[in-house]
């Protein structure tokens, strides 16, 4: 039940925020945004035709990670800003992680995400450093992922699935490319 609720919330937030980009009357109005979120979440469960949009999204993209959920929630309450902090590093790390998981290299990082203590300790350490550097939202997102993993909030038992997901890495990649393109004219001047 919890995985379905979290998936519904995650995809609901993502779709609502995406539509709010083109709807100034919605952006920044928490009450309207909440109503829109409720409507989107309800639509996600509507079986048209025979299959709900949520099932299609979960079948094709899987569940969103807890980190993504925290980022989306922050965006929802704080208005438009960059979804992913450190987009270049995030995109690079995410891409490297996914490429390594494709089975062409002997390094299989995804296997670390099950029981060994290394990855949870690294995640806690990173949250610690981010807190010291004032990146509190990011730090809290990582801690929420650790809590979610320990309490098995998602269908997965792998910590990586609580920290990362393909849509998040795609957004980070898009942002990183945008930043690179946006910087070039400045350097040319």
């Amino acid at each position: 039940m919890i995985p379905v609720l979290l998936a519904s919330l995650g995809y609901g937030l993502a779709i609502t925020l995406f539509f709010s980009l083109g709807a100034p009357w919605l952006r920044g109005h928490l009450k309207r945004m909440t109503m829109a979120l409720a409507a989107v979440c309800a639509l996600l469960h509507l079986p048209v035709p025979g299959v709900s949009l949520l099932a299609v999204l979960r079948g094709a993209l899987g569940d969103l990670s807890i980190v993504t959920l925290v980022f989306l929630t922050i965006l929802f309450f704080q208005g438009p800003r960059s979804l992913v902090p450190y987009p270049r590093s995030f995109a690079l790390m995410g891409l490297a992680f996914f490429l390594l998981s494709f089975g062409l290299s002997p390094l299989h990082l995804y296997a670390w995400g099950y029981a060994p203590a290394v990855l949870p300790c690294l995640t806690g350490g990173l949250a610690f450093l981010l807190w010291l550097r004032g990146r509190r939202a990011f730090s809290l997102a990582l801690l929420a992922a650790l809590v979610g993993w320990r309490l098995h909030w998602l269908d997965s038992g792998n910590l990586w699935d609580y920290l990362l997901d393909a849509p998040l890495v795609m957004v980070a990649l898009g942002r990183a490319v945008f930043l690179c393109i946006a910087r070039k004219p400045l350097q040319a001047r």
């Binding site: 079948g59 094709a60 089975g103 062409l104 806690g124 949250a127 610690f128 807190w131 997965s156």
Partner: protein
């Protein structure tokens, strides 16, 4: 030398941490302590996880004095037209349970998972075990088509079926689903999705029978085939949660592992060849730490036409395999024996062999004549004319071909061997033989 230069790395790190903590102490000491405690709580169970140990299956002992016996039957009905990837398991009540997938064509959206029971020497009528719509409703995730199933009884006495489904794309985008029957197939709990891969949870397929661990965990040999192709050992808890995954290889050359446990720490795995480059041989790897690490793959001398094989361990330490022991086609299915843990193999019997047609594919008339000869040895089956018609529809175009593949071999508690495989893309054939028959052909 200054004081800082003389300090060791550890001392420097401590000094840096102290400086940081001092600087941030007032406002952040409590949150940082909270982060440390939370991290410790999250990782705590991992510190005390004991290393895994295989639970070697007790090897059945045949009753002496039995007469050699080889029996044959077709398991499924003529509808649907095409069937594939059968698996079989022995139930504690002495019956057998077989699963396979079938539809108008492999990869079609009409493909369903079918099952049948073997009781008192005969197969029950087939029944539908899972459909795409049912899987979608129960997992809450979109499913377009179904594929390979594997059935087994867990140490807790539950009957499990793990089967492949695809939401988008081909087999490389497969995902695994689990259904559990607490009463050996009378009723089934809703399907649930196994999360096994990080990228959209795609590209995990199943083919081989499981192995078991001493703590009750289940080791399921699976494989990955999106960018790379490699065998994996997926460890599931008795509750069906994924606990661990280890890859047996990386690259593009091997898939569909069969794991043969010897001791609580040691096992050998044989893998189908997926390499484009010859020579096409079955791959072999072994573990000495109960599947946590696997040795580099080596080629055996057993030819393999990029086709699944099945194997099991005998009580004298030998390995018995059923495989297509040719490099390019699946017209031959042989029983093979290895006495050096899977490195070298010798053929001891051919269950199917159509090598004579290799360079001379039969036309329909020749095909029909040969098929009617084959049907005389097939044993219990549906109407022979329908069987022949289905086989012809599945195997004949301009010319006809033969295909015997995807063997799945087990040994029941009474010592008898049971083999199921896809017979000419149209039927699941079941062969039952005993140790006396095996000794006779050795």
């Amino acid at each position: 030398m200054t004081l800082t230069a003389r300090m060791t790395g550890t001392a420097r790190a401590c000094l840096l941490l102290r400086t940081c903590l001092h600087r941030y102490r007032r406002r952040t000491a409590l949150p940082l302590a909270g982060i440390a405690c939370l991290t410790l709580w999250a990782s705590w169970p991992a510190f005390f996880a004991p290393p895994p140990r295989f639970a070697p299956s007790p090897l059945p002992v045949s009753q002496p004095g039995k007469t050699p016996r080889l029996e044959s039957a077709l398991v499924n009905q003529p509808d649907p037209l095409r069937v594939h990837a059968a698996a079989i398991t022995a139930l504690p009540n002495g019956q057998l349970f077989a699963v396979w997938f079938g539809g108008q064509r492999e990869g079609g959206t009409d493909v369903k998972i079918y099952a049948a029971d073997y009781k008192d020497g005969a197969w029950s009528p087939q029944r539908v075990l899972a459909t795409p719509a049912q899987t979608m409703a129960e997992t809450g995730r979109f499913v377009r088509k179904l594929g390979n199933p594997v059935a087994f009884v867990t140490p807790q006495g539950e009957l499990w079926v793990v089967y492949v489904s695809v939401a988008l794309g081909g087999w490389a985008a497969s995902q695994l689903n689990l259904i559990v029957s607490p009463d050996l197939g009378k009723s089934w709990q809703p399907a649930r999705r196994l999360i096994t891969e990080p990228f959209l949870n795609i590209s995990t397929l199943v083919k081989g029978p499981p192995v078991f661990f001493e703590n009750g965990d289940i080791g399921l040999p699976v494989y990955y085939e999106m960018a790379g192709k490699s065998g994996e050992l997926l460890t599931l808890s008795p509750a069906g949660e994924v606990r661990r995954v280890t890859r047996m290889d990386h690259g593009l050359r091997s898939l569909q592992p069969i794991v043969l446990v010897e001791t609580p720490a040691r096992a050998v795995s044989l893998l189908r060849d997926g390499d484009d480059l010859p020579p096409h041989r079955v791959w072999r790897t072994e573990t000495t730490d109960a599947g946590q690490h696997w040795s580099p793959l080596t080629q055996t001398d057993l030819p393999n036409p990029n086709s699944a094989l099945s194997a099991l361990r005998l009580k004298d330490g030998g390995l018995l395999a059923v495989a297509n022991d040719v490099e390019n086609e699946r017209f031959r299915l042989s029983l093979l024996l290895s006495t050096d843990d899977g490195q070298h193999w010798r053929v001891i019997h051919r269950f199917e062999d159509k090598e004579s047609f290799l360079r001379n594919p039969p036309d329909r008339n020749t095909f029909r004549a040969r098929l009617s000869e084959d049907l005389q040895d097939i044993g219990r089956m549906p109407d022979p004319e329908t069987v022949a018609r289905n086989a012809e529809n599945n195997l004949c175009g301009t010319h006809c071909s033969w295909q015997y593949d995807y063997p799945y071999l087990i040994r029941a508690a009474d010592g008898d061997f049971h083999l199921v495989y896809t017979w000419n893309r149209s039927f699941i054939r079941h062969l039952r033989f005993n140790e006396a028959w095996l000794e006779k052909i050795l």
